[in-house]
């Protein structure tokens, strides 16, 4: 072997870095020439440019006249913002909502710092953007049906913005840069600061008061502006805490911890903070925790043994027996959690040989099992614990909060389910392939509404006596199954695009089928599937609006039928729907941007 040492040195010279010479700089065209080259390059293109501009201006003018028409009742939206966000969540419990928001903001701030989000932008670029922004404001103001006075005020603002941008562009030298996070912070501070300064008016609605709707002049209520200020400060503080952690700890530990916290956050906030569960401590201590401990200890020991490389064929047989036991558990009367735990244990046992290895690999595997078991036990216990936050009638929360809860849980749950279905459908095992194909084809052939109705009305009838499943939990399960079928098809497309050569290379180094799938095929398939998967997530988020059909108060339902029913705001549907569509658009656009960033990061389209 030693003769190779010299060889490496011989070949070293041919492997040195290729010297990089900077490409010739393409000169930036001055504005007039740019316009000529891109918009008026031929007579036909000139006509197209003029016609398209007229159409765009006409549409914008129509939109502006609609929004700023004096007949519009934007008061309806302003008065009922709280209703849109959380439906009838009790006023005296509202601190819970703010705590939940603060947790989300803290995690966001920490993550931004730990993952080094944001990039440096030259100040001259910022100036150019401001210039464009000011111009756009001026154009919109001229198109809007404002009074002369309002037009003048807004034009002054527009000129100030554009002038500031131009000054920045000219006076600052090109080397100076600014972080995108800094720009974001300035923008958000401006928004929150405006709550304290600008007289948006204080709109209130109280049932037992005349008049029920009151619009007082001045800035918004303290109960709105104070919490939002605190939220902004929390996020900023969390960001600096994140930098502190980043500089003092190795890279991976904080990242893994944060990922786990993000995963734990939704079930914890929902079932501990927002709902305020009234635990039956006798039941929790006497039944739930013992069951968890038995599975944690015995299951952990079993998995530790199965993940030993020396266990071999006997381990696989034992794992198969656990699966049989899990199926048997579903045929005999016993607690649901016992059955579910057994089923998950069987899945972990079957996958153990794939991840087998030394003590460290085994420890990680057992920790994974404990984590999964913990989350699942918590969810089952929490779903079956009644809430102390009471609202008349429906689920304890509604509006945008409900929309977000259902969307987040559905996406998180349907992701592993969809992966499993896609793998089963492409596997060599005929039984798995058949089951997955039937499931996918069945679910895809049924409208989503039927599934929602089935899970909200029929499933509770089939549950064993004593087992209680909240309506929203039932809907989330149904929606997750539905979403998983579509997700599976998206992933399957990615799986098929992994070349034969990759399979052969993995097989040639002796990987088992499951190792090949986990380490080689899935990462590549998922990377290719990012655009359709994000498209699917956007779809899931938007289709939560169908929850209204089974009587849940999602944000669109409130905007469409609850608010117009207030006699003061008769016929304000158009305004509310426009406002809600703006909310939907903001979320979906952010998902879309995140998808683009993810694609860039994973280098999609480069290799």
């Amino acid at each position: 072997m030693s003769e190779f040492a010299g060889l490496g040195a011989d070949l070293g010279m041919s492997t040195g870095m290729i010297p990089i010479t900077a490409p010739p700089e393409t000169p930036k065209l001055p504005p007039r020439e740019w316009v000529k080259a891109n918009l008026f390059s031929s007579p036909f293109n000139s006509v197209l440019t003029v016609v398209a501009s007229i159409i765009i201006l006409a549409i914008t003018r129509g939109l502006m006249s609609f929004i700023f028409n004096p007949q519009r009742q934007w008061d309806a939206t302003a008065t009922n913002l709280r209703l849109l966000m959380t439906q009838a969540y009790p006023e005296e419990q509202y601190l819970r909502i703010w705590i939940a928001t603060a947790v989300v903001f803290t995690l966001t701030g920490l993550s931004l710092a730990v993952w080094r989000a944001g990039s440096a932008v030259p100040l001259s670029d910022v100036g150019r953007r401001l210039l464009t922004f000011g111009g756009t404001i001026a154009l919109l103001v001229l198109l809007a049906p404002f009074s002369v006075r309002a037009t003048i005020i807004w034009l002054v603002v527009a000129v100030a913005v554009a002038g500031g941008g131009e000054a920045l562009r000219r006076l600052v030298d090109d080397e100076r840069t600014m972080s995108t996070l800094g720009i974001l912070l300035i923008g958000l501070s401006g928004l929150v600061g405006s709550l304290w300064v600008i007289p948006y008016g204080n709109h209130t609605f109280q049932l037992h008061r005349t008049p029920r709707v009151l619009a007082e002049p001045g800035t918004v209520a303290l109960t709105t502006k104070l919490p939002w200020t605190v939220m902004l400060l929390v996020a900023v503080a969390a960001y600096f805490l994140g930098i502190f952690i980043r500089e003092r700890l190795p890279t991976n530990a904080p990242r893994i911890t944060l990922l786990l916290l993000w995963l734990l956050m939704p079930p914890t906030l929902l079932y501990l903070v927002l709902r305020d569960p009234s635990f039956d401590m006798g039941h929790v201590l006497g039944t739930d925790i013992p069951i968890f401990l038995v599975y944690a200890v015995l299951g952990g020991a079993l998995l530790n043994w199965l993940a030993r490389p020396s266990t071999g064929e006997i381990g696989r047989i034992v794992a198969a027996l656990v699966l049989v036991a899990a199926f048997a558990a579903f045929l005999t009367p016993m607690r649901m959690i016992v059955r579910l735990d057994m089923l998950v244990l069987a899945a972990f046992a079957l996958a153990a040989p794939t991840f087998s290895g030394g003590p460290r690999a085994r420890k990680n595997y057992v920790i994974g099992w404990l984590g999964f078991l913990g989350i699942m036990s918590w969810l089952v216990t929490a779903i079956n614990t009644p809430s102390t936050v009471k609202v008349p009638g429906q689920f304890f929360i509604g509006g945008l909060s409900l929309t977000l809860i259902v969307a987040v849980f559905t996406i998180v749950i349907s992701f592993p389910l969809g992966l499993a279905l896609a793998l089963a459908r492409t596997s060599n095992m005929p039984i798995f392939r058949l089951l997955a194909t039937w499931f996918i084809e069945f679910v895809r052939g049924v409208p989503m509404i039927t599934i929602l109705i089935f899970f909200s009305i029929m499933v509770p009838l089939f549950l064993p006596p004593g087992m209680h499943l909240g309506e929203v939990a039932a809907v989330i399960i149904g929606y997750s199954l539905f979403s998983a079928a579509y997700l599976a098809e998206n992933v399957r497309g990615g799986l098929q695009s992994v070349t034969r050569g990759q399979h052969e290379a993995a097989e040639a180094v002796g990987m088992t089928t499951s190792q090949k799938t986990v380490f080689i095929v899935l990462p590549q398939a998922l990377r290719i599937s990012i655009p359709p998967l994000v498209g699917h997530c956007i779809g899931v988020f938007k289709e939560t609006s169908l929850l209204a059909i089974i009587g849940l108060f999602d944000v669109l339902f409130i905007a469409r039928s609850v608010m117009p029913n207030q006699t003061e705001f008769m016929g304000s549907t158009k305004e509310n729907v426009l406002f809600v569509s703006l909310i939907y658009w903001i979320f979906c656009y952010q998902m879309s941007k995140a998808s683009q960033r993810l694609e860039r990061r994973t280098g999609l389209g480069e290799r």
Binding site: L7, L11, G12, A508, V509, G510, M511, F519
Partner: protein, 264 residues
């Protein structure tokens, strides 16, 4: 040595090593394979000894690649027996996995894992198949990368390397499993001409180190210089085999002569 090399006296030329006492590493007995009605392999029988370097030549479509891919069960033969290091290739998954972990293979199209860094490409299989601790596996991966002369590329992605460098990573990846046999399937065919040499040089050094090798190639210079034995295939059959001297200077079969006249 059995049928093949015994036909050629070992003292025919100086460079031929005497491997008659060596262990049988690959034994093929009447191996046949069909694609539909097309017979890709037609009763291939030969034995490859430990440390022997066998170069397989032949026109395209002659079944060279199919044969070499049968040796580690990327293709399934339908008749005959293939025994690799005393393990017979059958449908039993355990046998297949055992053979594959002892037979390294390098492909024409490199087939590196594009989502993993070079070092992870090399250390992945030792970690998960050989169950080595990560630190040890990475240390050995670096040693293999030094062996093929590109340790400085360890933390790049395959897409950032030239073709020749990628193929050398592929060789390091196969070597990291510490195989007893290496299979090379037209490894220089997809490379630009100036990169062929760097890959061939590594294969030569590997051959000198005593690795059992089976090489499908069109590089006649390499075959002449390195091979212990050359096997010429056509239409799924072994037409002629022998030492490089015999094969290039003194072939007996007409089809071999025709092939040589076309390429030389």
């Amino acid at each position: 040595m059995t049928d093949a090399a015994a036909a050629e006296p070992a003292d025919d030329q100086g460079q031929t090593r005497d491997l008659s006492n060596a262990r049988d590493m690959i034994v093929c007995e009447e191996v046949s394979k069909w694609y539909g009605d097309f017979r890709a392999l037609d009763k291939i029988s030969t034995t490859i000894k430990e440390q022997e370097v066998v170069v397989v030549l032949g026109p395209s479509g002659s079944g060279k690649s199919t044969w070499i891919r049968c040796i580690n069960r990327l293709e399934i033969h339908q008749e005959g027996r293939i025994v690799v290091d005393d393990v017979e290739l059958t449908n039993d998954l355990r046998n297949i996995e055992q053979v594959r972990s002892e037979v390294g293979m390098v492909f024409q199209q490199f087939n590196l894992f594009p989502h993993l860094k070079v070092i992870d490409n090399v250390s992945l299989a030792p970690i998960w198949v050989r169950k080595k601790p990560r630190a040890e596996a990475e240390e050995q991966a670096m040693a293999q990368l030094e062996r093929v002369g590109i340790p400085e590329q360890a933390h790049k992605y395959p897409g950032q390397l030239s073709g020749g460098q990628q193929q050398r990573v592929a060789i390091a990846r196969a070597l990291a499993m510490e195989p007893k046999i290496m299979l090379f399937d037209e490894v220089t065919s997809a490379l630009d001409p100036e990169m062929v040499k760097e890959v061939l040089d590594i294969m030569k050094t590997l051959a000198l180190s005593g690795m059992t090798m089976m090489v499908v190639t069109h590089e006649m210079g390499f075959a002449k210089e390195v091979a212990d034995r050359i096997i010429f295939m056509e239409e799924g059959q072994i037409v002629e085999q022998g030492t490089p001297t015999h094969f290039f200077e003194n072939p007996t079969e007409d089809r071999t002569k025709l092939f040589l006249s076309q390429i030389l």
